[in-house]
Each structure stands twice: as C-alpha cells, then as structure tokens.
Amino acid sequence: MKHNKILISIIVILFLGSCQDFEELEKDPNRPTSVTPGLVLNGVLNDMTERAWNNTQRWNQFNCCNYNYYGTQEYNWTSATLYYTTLKNVVKMEEEAVSGGAKALNPYAALGKFLRAYFYYRMTMIVGDLPQEEALQGLQELTPEYDTQKQIFGKILNWLDTANTDIAALISSGDNTLSGDFYYNNDLRKWQKAVNSFKLRVLVQLSKKETDADLNIKAKFAEVLSNKSKYPLFDSNLDNLQYVYNNQFNKYPINPDNFGFDATRYNYSSTYLNRLSALKDPRVFIMAEPAGEKLKSGLTPTSYEAFVGADPNQDLGDMSSKAGIDNGAGYLPGKYSFFNRKRFYSTYTAENTIQIGYPELCFNIAEGIHRGWATGNAEEWYVKGIQASHRFYGLKEGDNDVYFFKAGGSPTNSADYNKYTIQFNWEQYYAQAGVKYETGSAGLDKILLQKYLAFFQNSGWEAYFNYRRTGIPSFSENGPGTGNSGKIPKRFQYPSSELTTNSENLTEALTRQFGGKDDINLDMWVIK
C-alpha cells in the first residue's frame, strides 16, 4: 500500500501543479481592451467616409449600371444603414482620451460633438425620428425612446455650436494632442471650418422649416455669415473635407484593376450628363467619353451633342443592349457615354472624394441669401460655387487638354488616348441663359442645379436630399427601371432589428410620423 500512497501523492501534485490562474485564462490575449483615442478617431473617420460610385451615387442619378448581374437603378429600398456603432466608438474615443489623462476640454471631445452632429444628420435624413437622448448607453438603456426629427435637428445645431466654441478654445490654448486624423492631419483650424460649413448644409436642408421659431434657422444662418472670425468657413477647395486615395491601400473605386469589369457596364445617367452637356459645360469632356454611336454618326468627339446619358427609369434590358451595341471597329460600343477612361481608369487615385466641400458651401450660401435668410450677394456665391467646381476638375480659362479613349486600347497606356484641346471661356459659359443667375424661383433652380452638378460622385446623399427637398433637378422616375412601383421613395425603413428589440418605441415613432406604417414613400418632418 505504501507504493500506492506515493503514486497517489505524485498524481495529486501533478494535478495541482497544472492548475492555472483561471481569471487570466478567461482574457483574450489577442485584442486590447484599451487603446489611444487617436486610433479610435481613425476608425470613426474611416466609417464616416462616403465613397464615390456606390449605390447612393446611382440613386443620386449620376450614373447607371446596365448589367443586371452587378446591380440596377431600382429604388426598392428596405432597411436603412445607421451609424450607432460608429457613434459608440465616438463615445469610446472620448473615454479613452479622458482615461489617458486628457482634460475635459480636449480635441477628441470637441470633435466628438461634431461627429455626433454629422452622423445623426446622416441617419435622421434617411429615416426620420430616431433615438438620441437615450441612445448609446449600452446595457443602461436597451430600449431607447425615439426623439422627434425636430428635436434631433435642434441637438445637431447645438453640438455644432459647442464644437465650434470648443475647437476655438483649443486652438487658442495651442492644444496639439489630436492624432489619428487622416483628413486634416490633426489641424484643428481646418476642422473648425468644416464644422461651420457643415452647419450651413444642415440649415439649408431645413429650408422647409425656415419659419420654425424654435430652430430659428434664418437667424442662425445670418449669424454664421456675419461673424467670420467666430465662424470660420472653407475658403477654397484646399479646405475641403475630402478622402484622398492612394495607390496601394485605398484605391479609387474605379481604377485600372476593374476597367475590364466596369468600364462598359456602367454608363452615365441622363439626369446628370444630359444637363451638363445641355449647358455646354466643359466638365463633360473631363468626366465622360463621347458616345460611340454619336461618333459613328459623324459627330466630333468634342461636340456636346456627342455626350449622352441613359435614362435611369428605362428597362434594364433595354439599357443593357443599347449600352452594348457594336459600333464597329474604331468606335466604342453603345449609345451612351461611359466614364472618362483617362480620368477614372488610368490611375488608382482619380480624384479626391469630397465629404463636405467648398463648392457646396458656396451654393448653400447663395441659396440662403437667395431665400432672404441673410444679406449678401447670391450671384457672387453662385459664381464662386460653379468656378470652385470647375477648379476641382482642373478646368481653366483658355486651352484645356481632354482625352478620349481609343477603342481597343489599354487604359493605363497613355498612347491609347486621343488628345483634344478645347477652349473654355468663362464669360461665354456664364452668359448662357441656362447658367446666368437671375432672381426669383428660376434663379434658385439654377443654384440647385449647379449644386447638383457639383455633387457628382461626392458628399454622399446630398444630391438626393436636395432633390427630395426642392425637386431640382427633376429625377427620372415612373419607368420599369425605377422599381418601387415607379416612384422615387422618400426614406428608408428602420432596421428590422428594431422591430424585435425596441418595438414599443418604434411603433410609437411610426405612429406619430407615418400613421404606424414603416412606408418608404411617405414624407418625414424635415421635408413637410
């Protein structure tokens, strides 16, 4: 039995010796539970970025997909994409800043207010009422109540004011603790301009509520314009909040890699391109290729009439076959203009994608003044807006080189482009009846049209929001290609998870807004 005891002892010791600290074992050794706030900011800014050439831009009717396998133009909208998880990261960023030793007033807290305003604006504009006061509390509030869209807009404007004041204070105190900002390289001065420029976007989108005493839009608008030192704004395209692509890691969405997939499967929409060519706007030569069929019929490549977009409401099968007709050797296929190969397919960094831009700011100021919200010269800002957009596309007074693809070439081979020189004369352009500013509603329509043209492939939903608010420019609908029984919808549905997780509050919000029905074709408060 003695041996047994020794054996048992040895085994018992082995057992005990192999026991490890269970609490340590529960932790994940692969992921951090705390990081620097700059890393979180970097993530939030990545979430914020709205790229070019996505579905949103197709619903903005800038371009069309003619290949069913890749997509359609249909407006069969269902659940909205919301950004609460990103806003949660904004909260985490602020917490990490404070736990890292920052003061209560710090750049992350200040930017946090702007980011809240930015994301709530984007969310409420596509659905309507949303949880705000009770939101972002994790387990503390699992069924947050919905605030009205009006309350949310009030909050957005407050956040923007506070962000502006806080950033100003940080600038004057010389705070340089911001990191992780790939948009402005941690320059708070630029952020301050973005905050105020964005505020004007928000105010203009509230134009249907210009008489609302609580929001007091007109006065807020005038206040910004009247005090430039308190409310610095973008001064040029150099101030744009814009996403800059790079060759290796963040390629422009259309580039040499996907030329073979996309170049003939997407074409321009008539809503955009036909208006541009009707105004004899030379941006058309930079953005597009002349339609192969028009060239074959004898038009010169630099005639505006050669630039044709497809009506997005048409049957996709029709668009597909029209986009693919064989025009014979030496001509690109199709009846429509495709995206300019030189600009978009010859490099990986075609153009920056504006999120909040100077041209829009100019048009917003022009619109506000035109509406009588503030004193000033609406035409001056209108002209500045068009010219800023022209500058964005590198268009200059006098000779401009433009490039069109030789049928059958390779997009990265510069020899495969024909170069044409076109003349641009601003006075001549501006003198056109369709361009020249005028007073009255026709003048406002021109501001809105030029704003739309400047929104091409940028600023997310703004082109659609402006159309929804004003009807300018009119979008193409009522065809088999429109979907949604031929109508352009007004909003998205709430995420279906709200139905299972927060249904009481959702039902209440739906009842007060849309008669209880989560209908995409009904108007929300901001456009009533």
């Binding site: 057992f15 529960e26 692969n30 990081v35 993530g43 919301l82 994790g138 509030e141």
Partner: protein, 1059 residues
C-alpha cells in the same frame, strides 16, 4: 474459492454474463464484462456454464485456483459487448442508451480517401456527407446536429479524446467504431461529448495462436465516370446579348473581359479571338472562325483519380504483453490534374501485464498528411469549376498547345496565355503554377497504468496528449487574379497552426466482481481530469510580389501582412459514475460531472451535470411468446453544460479573402465574451481601433443541453431478426447566443443565455438473417437496414423576445424576415416572386418577374428521413455485399443552377422555347415572352414587415405582353432563390464488394495464413432529379449548394494477406 474466465472457443474473446453454477448446488454467479467470475468451489467440482446463445457446458475444476472455460457460442450474441465512454467495455444489453457498433473490418475493403466516409449508412441517426474534394472532410450529422453551429461529434481513441480532422487514423488499425449518439452516452467527456462521440477502438495484439501475426492489406481504386456534373451548352460562346470581339481580354474589346456566356452562336463566322492573328501594321486583330473548339472542356481536362492504400501491421501477444505496430500509406491523386494527397500513419500500441496487479498500456499514433498541391473549389476565380463550367465558353480548347503551354511566349512566369485576362484563368496555370501545399503532423497517444489495489478496487492513472502542427502555403503566380487581387502581381501566403492538449485522468474503480450481494452487481468509479489546452497560429501573406515566381515574404511589394491568434484554456473536472444491476431485472447507470472551465466568467465557471439511464431485459424474466427471443427496454436522461468554446477554427486572419479559409479542429476558447478593440489596418496601412459591437456579459452561465431517449431492442426467431427503435429528444438551452439589441444602444448584439429548441427524432435499425449459413448449401444472406428522422423547433428565445431574424439558424438565408417560437429552425428564406392569387408571376413593365421586397419561406433544409440498406450474401468462400442509401425530402437552393443559367451556360438555355428565344437574342430580336401577367391598373403595395402584397384585390392584371431578350429574363428570374429551390432527395448505390477468401486448404502449409481478394466499387449509381450537383454533400441544415468538383464512381481491388 476459484477464479475463472469464460472465453469464446472461436476467437478467445471474453464472454460476459454467462451463468456459472456449481453442479448439484444452488450457488451461482455470472461472468463479468471481461468474462471473469469467482465461485466457491474445490478441485473436482463440476461447473456448469450457460446463457443466452450458449449451449450449457460443463468444466471440472482442476488443482489450481483458476480456470479458463472455452465455450462454443453463437457469434451473434457474442458481438454484444461494446466499448463505451472512457473505453469501458459493457454488455450492450445492460446499456440504457443508444449505441451502435461498426466493425473496422467492414470498412477496409471498399475504401474512401477519408476513413470516416466509410461509416455512411452504417449507423441509424448518423449522416455522413462525404466531401468530394481532395483533403475535404465529411460533414457528420448525429441526430440532426448542425455542424455550422459547432455541433460536431467528438473523436475518441481507446477512451481518450483526440483532436481530429478525420484523416488522422488509419482504417486498418481500427477494431471497431462505437457511435455514441447522444449525450447520455458521452456525458463522461464533458461538454465535448454533447453531440455524441465516435469512439475508435484500436486493434490490440494478435489473436493468432502462434502469438504473432503479420497482416498486409492493399487497395487500388480508380475514380472515373461522372455521377453529377453540370450540363452546359457549347452552342454559344462568351459575350453579352450575342456580341463578342476580342481586343485585349480585359474589357478593351466587345465584352472580352469578365464576360458571361451570352455571346454569339458558333457558326464559323469571323470574329477576332484571343489567338487570332494581329495585323503587324495596323495592330488590328483579324477575325478567325468562331467555332466550338472547346466542347466538353471540363471532361477533357479532368483525369481519372487514383486511390492506393497499403498497410502492414505486425502484432504479437504473450502472457505478459500485447504489441502491435502498423504503418499505412494512403496515396490519392485527384481528378483535377496535378493534385494529390498522401497520408502516412504509424500506430503503436502496447499492453504490458507487468504483474498480476499492474498493467501498463499505451498507444501512440503519428500521422502526416502532405501534398504539394490540392485544388480550391469554392466559388471564385481560384476554382476550376468557376472558370471552366460556369463562366468559361467553348471558344477555347483546353488541349490547345498554346493554352497547354500556359505562358505567353517571351513572358514566361509573368503572363499566362488565355482567352480572357480580367477575371478568368487558364486552367493549366491554376493547377501547375498556382500550388497550394498542405503539410500536417499529427500525434496523439496515451499511457496508462492500472493497479489492482484489491480484488474490488482498481486505480488508473492516464495521461494523454493530442497535438498537431500544420503548415499551409499558397504560391500565386503573376497574371493570376482571384477576387481582390486584380493587379495580378502574384502572392505568397502561409498559414501555420500549432495545437497541444493534455488530458490527465485519475480514476478509482470499485467492482463487486461477480460477488452478488442481495442481487446487486455494482461497478462504480470516481476520478478527476485536467485538460490543458494551448493553441497558436499565424497567417502571413505578401501584398503582391516584386520578382515573379519567388515565393518569399522578403519579396513582397507592399508591407507583408502578418497576423496571429493564440489561446489557452484549462478544464478541471471531477466525475463519477456507477453501473448497478439488480439481478437480471434492471440495470441503472448514473454519471455526474463537475467542470471548472476557464472560458466562462469567474463565479459561473464551475457547474455540475448528471445523467442516468435504465435498462431491463424483459425476456430474461418474463415468459414471452416463443417468436420473441429477446426484448429489452431502455430509457435515459442526460444533461451537459459548457460554453464559449468552438470545435473548429479558421486562419488567424484572412486579409486577402479569396478562396476557402482552412478550418482545423480546435475545441478551444472563442473569447467572444471579451469586450475589446479590433485594430485593423485601414487607411494607408495605418491601424484604426473599433470597439466590439457585442455587449459582453460578466454573469453569463454555461449552456445546457438535456437529452431524453427511450428505446426498445427486440429480436425474433432466435435472434434472426433484430429490431432496435429509439426515440430521442434534445432539449437544448438555454444556450449562449448573441441576441440582437437595438442599434441605438451603440451595440448590435448582447451575449446572453437564451434560445431553446427541441429536437425530436426516431432511429430504427433492423438486422436480419434471411438465410442462415448452412453447411449443406453454403449460402447465407444478411440484411441491415437503418432509418432515422428528426425535426427541430424553436421553443424559447429570451425573456421578452419572441422572434429571431430568419438567418439566425441558416446563415445564408435572407435575414429580413422573422422566425417565431414554435417554428422549425431549418426554414429557408430567400428572394421570391410577386404572384397573383392564382399563383401567376407578376411581371414589371419590362416583362420580368417582380421580386418581393423581403424574403419568403421556400422550404425546410433538413431531410424528412435518412435511410440505408445493406445486403450481404455468402456462398462458400465468396461473398457479395452492396449498400443503397439516401435521404428523402429537404430543400436546397441550387447555386450551380442559378449561376449556370445566369451565365448563359446552362444546357437548357439552348433547348426548346428557350433555345428559340436565345437564337432571337443573338439576332437582336426581343422574342421571349415570360410567363405570367403584367399590371393593367393599380400598383402593388407591400407589407413593410413580411414584404407580401397587401392590395392584390385593388390591382388588375393582363397577360404579359412585353417581349424581351431571354438573357435579361433569365438574369432576373434565376437570380431569385425561389427559381432555384430543389428537393434534396437522392439515393446512391454506395458500395459493392465481391470477395473471395482463399480456403486454408488451398494455402496449405505455405507461409501465408490467410488471404482474400475483393473487387470493390463505391458510389456506383446516383439517383436524383438534380444532376448538376451531388446532393450527398448537402446534408442537414445545408440550404445552399456550393461549387463542387464533379463526383465520380470509384472501383478497384482489395487484397488482404495474413502471414
């Protein structure tokens, strides 16, 4: 007092439960599971041994104190000792739960590349869905478990759990498999046994009377002849709306890049093609005749597969020891050229009876899998099927010398030659220049020491390891461009993993050893287990290469991407079990186990779960009609708990996400209850941090599963016909799941205890001897039939929550609908068409079907039932056996059908009305008149929640008047899941074995002791309405088909020699 052992005269195996009585006396006992008995007797006394299947025999006690009683038995009864959990041998009649045993010898003739595939149809309730892919692992479904939700059985070798990829054991080393179907049987393995266990019992020592034997087994089989292959058309080539013209194969021409196969008809017309001559002056490509040069490219590309298995085993047995060593080499050539797989397996098992009290036992298995190249099949440009069958036209010939030569002249190593350069690949480039290597070393083994403290007490100490390291590499050449790699500048990647696990057990066992007091027979054990687990993996990839064909990380153009994942875990367990029999009436088994599991939050990481089972052999004490020779009833209940572990794990990261991520056995922590940041490289290769979108839960408890089962085992006509019926019910939950929370909280999910389901099912096994082997005719016929069914229903979710998104259980479903309490969990929800009240398709203004805004229920994924029937005939030295098996019911969305239609490749697009319309498409005429109606007045309104039409009554319809191109109609129609839903019913002639055993008279006195030869075939016939995919690969919850390599018949020869 003497001790004796009852053994079978035929093969020396112990005979349990034999009744042992002293002649002329009332004292008696019975032999235990090892055949041992003790009885008070003196030399010269006569002992009578009898029992079920045993003719009463008498033995006279000799002068010693021990006795070996060799008796003649009926083999059918003798097979009834089965190996249960922890390697404990039990008589099946005393077991209160369902267990089925399969003899290893039945699976080594008609071989499969994967040893587990052989189990298909052999066990009621076990579905084995073999993978047709090289290195593919079968999907194992026990009682309706769902492998996609981590419900996979545990593999156990000689009582010790191992980490298994199902390749790391050799069929020739296996004496038998015991399939423990439910947790009742496997509760002793803790939560890992919750989905049942496949217990492998290795061969031990030699039964040869000489004390040693050498066994050699050799199989050679050929894969040839397709069972299921997509039927494609070779009348029209690539292009769009009938148009195609090659310029650069990258979109420079007319539909010459990333094309569909909706191009021009092959009519010999002149069209510029990839190999058409280019005018040296103008640079323009001339037209050459457009003909179907590449008819049946896939069939001509694929070759016959080969499977060769050779194994040799040397074994010896003596009074002191049993030894066995074996080596097995498994060599497989895939049907895709230049793909192969080898597996070497070495196994060594010893038993040393050191003293009468002390026994040492060990077994070590080493296996190595190695291949320089195995194919990837998953949907994408890395797949041969994707390239040739779905998106490849017949305009190029796979055997054309240029294509076969792979590279463009002068651009060797840099640019391949092919008919297209944007999306698709020259198949020879894929198989010869784009190798994917796999090298895995896998070792498991144990050593145990058993010490008999006294006749009643035994102490066992055992330590086992299971460990593997795997190295995978992929060398992607320049001009290959799978998803996300459009620059086509090559890549090299490595995936390394290392797993180590130790299980150490200490177990004290008490047996009353046949000393029945007051009718009670007891065996009870108590012990502890420490499981220590460690895992480390890295995944590294270049981000394009600088120099072609140099596959080294230092050759990366952009910074190398390297990721790792490490984990550790420990489980401390205390467990006990007892088997108690009261006379012949009743057998009760109870188990209990406490686990302390490091993955669960402290405070909730220690938990207990019990099991109990009861059985009674009625026929032993109730007089039944003569026709019934045996009747047993059984019932059991078992509970298992665990949590936050995963049975499998993929790569540490998958930064460039094309192809199939490799999944290995894991069974370690998921860390899903840890709230933390992920820090991917996002903008300009700089890191960004994102906080978890799942709320963690410090008070999370272990999940729970409870199994109830009851069964009857009844045999008739002197055991000639046996029927075993089991009813089982799993009550799963509360489990651990991530419930949806309102996004407005900032989180999407919260990890909680919840979700309860009930799965109920039946299993039926029939064994029959239609014709008993008779000396006179030499003819015999045995039949085995297995049948099973199950259904799983959602019974609870979480307090206050009554529905889940429709993609909760079936991840590929559209998730925009809800499934509610009371619904089946395997419902398929997919895109569906708007229809009138009488079921006609409603078309839009373009004449194409309108798709409802939300998914609709299309069917259930699980089969209605699964069956197998096996017949075995014997005539003298010849034998013939064959098995049919299959599954009935269940639905599947046929992705191959969807893609071959949409790509214009499906054979039906050139047949009948479609064929006529297709010709008109090519002529530029819209002629296809899609079925159904169009809206005459009104417009459709949809329910925002269900997506169903709410105002059908307000809308009037007219016949569909809009003619269109067939291509556009197909593209819409076949994109919807509803158009591609098929029944999963199929059956196969699974195996045929014609065997001949050389009679010993023929072998005479030569050194060969035994020899047999078999002609074998597997998967010879396939019956189904679906012929483009092999439905065999989509069992249980599989609701969406994937791409698969065409399946083939396999046939060959098996030789077996014993020396």
């Amino acid at each position: 007092m003497i001790t004796g052992k009852v053994v079978s005269k035929a093969d020396g195996t112990p005979v349990p439960s034999a009744s042992v009585t002293l002649k002329g006396s009332s004292s008696g006992t019975s032999s235990n599971v090892d055949g041992i008995f003790s009885i008070r007797a003196k030399p010269g006394d006569v002992i009578q041994i009898s029992g079920v299947g045993i003719k009463m025999q008498e033995f006279t006690v000799g002068s010693g104190s021990s006795l070996i009683a060799e008796i003649e038995t009926d083999a059918k009864v003798m097979s009834e000792v089965v190996v249960t959990a922890l390697g404990i041998r039990k008589e099946s009649k005393r077991i209160g739960y369902s267990i089925q045993e399969v003899k290893g010898a039945d699976l080594v003739k008609a071989r499969e590349p994967n040893p587990v595939n052989g189990l298909v149809g052999k066990v009621a309730g076990l579905t084995v869905a073999p993978s047709a892919e090289l290195l593919g692992t079968p999907s194992l479904i026990l009682r309706g478990s769902d492998p996609r939700r981590g419900q996979v059985p545990l593999f156990v070798v000689d009582g010790v759990p191992i980490s298994s990829d199902t390749y790391n054991f050799a069929p020739d080393d296996i004496e038998s498999y015991s399939i423990l179907k439910g947790p009742s049987a496997s509760a002793l393995y803790g939560y890992r046994g919750q989905n049942g266990a496949i217990i492998i019992n290795t061969k031990k020592g030699s039964k040869d009377k000489r004390g040693f034997s050498v066994e050699f087994n050799s199989s050679t089989m050929i894969d040839d002849g397709f069972l299921a292959i997509p039927k494609v058309q070779d009348e029209y080539g690539p292009g769009d709306h009938g148009k195609y013209s090659f310029v650069d194969g990258r979109g420079g021409g007319l539909n010459d890049g990333d094309y569909d196969v909706w191009g021009p008809k092959f009519e010999g017309q002149l069209i510029p093609q990839y190999d058409s001559p280019v005018d040296p002056v103008t640079g323009a490509r001339q037209g050459t005749p457009w003909v179907a040069r590449g008819k049946n490219n896939l069939e001509r590309f694929i070759k016959s597969g080969l499977l060769m298995v050779n194994s040799i085993a040397v074994s010896s047995s003596s009074e002191k020891s049993d030894l066995r060593f074996s080596a097995t080499h498994n060599y497989q050539e895939g049907i895709v050229p230049n793909t192969k797989l080898s597996t070497m397996n070495f196994n060594m098992g010893n038993t040393f009876r050191l003293t009468p009290k002390l026994t040492f036992e060990s077994n070590v298995n080493f296996s190595r899998q190695y291949t320089e190249n195995f194919p990837d099949v998953v949907y994408g440009p890395n797949s041969i099927i994707y390239n040739i069958t779905i998106w490849g036209g017949a305009d190029w010939d796979v055997m054309d010398p240029g294509i076969r030569g792979i590279w463009q002249p002068g651009k060797e190593g840099v640019q391949s030659l092919y008919a297209e350069y944007q999306r698709y690949h020259n198949p020879w480039l894929m198989v010869e220049k784009w190798p994917r290597g796999h090298f895995k070393n896998d070792v498991y083994g144990y050593a145990s020491l058993k010490y008999k403290i006294s006749p009643s007490f035994e102490l066992m100490g055992r330590s086992a390891i299971t460990t593997f390291n795997v190295f995978r590499s992929e060398k992607m050449p320049f001009s290959a461009h799978p998803y996300g790699r459009e620059e086509g500048k090559g890549d090299y990647r490595e995936d390394k993993r290392d797993l180590f696990e130790n299980n150490t057990d200490l177990l004290l066992t008490y047996t009353n050893n046949g000393k029945i007091t007051k009718g009670l027979d007891i065996r009870a054990s108590a012990g502890g287990n420490v499981r220590t687990f460690r895992y480390a993996s890295t995944f590294a990839t270049t981000d394009y290469l600088n120099v072609p064909e140099v596959y080294n990380f230092s050759n990366s153009r952009n910074p190398v991407k390297v990721y790792n994942f490490n984990s550790q875990m420990q489980v401390l367990s205390w467990y006990g079990f007892a088997d108690i029999s009261y006379k012949n009436y009743v057998n009760l088994s109870v188990t209990g186990r406490w686990d302390k599991l490091s993955t669960l939050p402290s405070g909730n990481n220690l938990y207990f779960y019990p099991s109990a089972s009861l059985s009674s052999v009625l026929s032993e004490y109730i007089k039944l009609p003569e026709v019934i020779s045996f009747l047993k009833l059984r019932a059991s209940i078992a509970n298992v708990k665990g949590g936050l572990t995963s049975p499998t794990r993929g790569p540490a990261a998958y930064p460039i996400g094309y192809g199939t991520p490799y999944v290995t056995a894991y069974d370690g922590p998921t860390y899903e209850n840890v709230a933390a940041y992920t820090t991917p490289l996002v903008y300009n290769n700089q890191p960004a941090a994102y906080y978890s979108n799942t709320l963690n839960n410090p008070s999370l408890k272990a999940f729970s599963r409870t199994n109830y089962e009851a069964g009857i085992d009844i045999r008739f006509l002197g055991n000639r016909l046996g029927l075993d019926v089991t009813y089982f019910q799993y009550k799963d939950g509360p489990g651990i799941f991530q419930r949806d929370v309102s996004q407005a909280t900032g989180y999407i999910k919260e990890i909680v205890n919840g979700i309860e389901t009930v799965r109920k099912g039946w299993e039926v096994s029939v064994n029959g001897t239609v014709i008993k082997p008779k000396q006179r005719t030499g003819f015999s016929w045995d039949v085995m039939f297995n049948w099973s069914t199950y259904e799983e229903e959602l019974t609870a979710i979480y307090p206050g929550v009554s529905s889940l998104n429709s993609n909760f259980f079936i991840g590929d479903n559209r998730g925009d609908r809800l499934i509610n309490i009371g619904d089946r969990v395997d419902a398929i929800y997919g895109a569906s068409f708007a229809k009138t009240e009488d079921g006609q398709l409603i078309n839009d203004g373009g004449g194409r079907p309108i798709v409802l805004p939300r998914g609709q229920m299309l069917g259930y994924a699980n089969p209605d039932w699964v069956w197998a029937i096996n017949n075995k005939f014997g005539y003298k030295n010849f034998s013939l056996s064959f098995q049919f098996d299959g599954r009935v019911g269940g639905s599947l969305v046929n992705y191959i059908q969807r893609q071959t239609f949409r790509g214009g490749r499906h054979a039906e697009t050139v047949q009948g009305a479609m064929g006529e319309a297709r010709l008109q498409d090519y002529n530029g005429v819209k002629s296809w008149d899609g079925p159904g109606v169009q809206i005459a007045s009104g417009s459709l309104q949809y329910d925002p929640v269900t997506g169903q039409i709410t105002n059908l009554k307000d809308v009037t319809f007219k016949d569909n008047e809009t003619k269109q191109f067939l291509q556009d109609w197909i593209s819409r129609y076949y994109a919807a899941e509803e158009a591609n839903i098929v029944s999963k019913t199929f059956s196969k002639l699974r195996e045929v074995i014609i065997g001949y055993t050389f009679p010993s008279s023929m072998l005479g006195k030569s050194f060969i002791k035994g020899a047999s030869v078999s002609l074998v075939g597997r998967n010879l016939l396939y019956f189904s309405n679906v012929k483009d995919v092999d439905l065999d690969q989509y069992p249980g919850f599989a609701a969406y088909s994937t791409l698969q390599t065409p399946t083939t018949r396999r046939y060959g020869i098996n030789l077996n020699f014993t020396f």
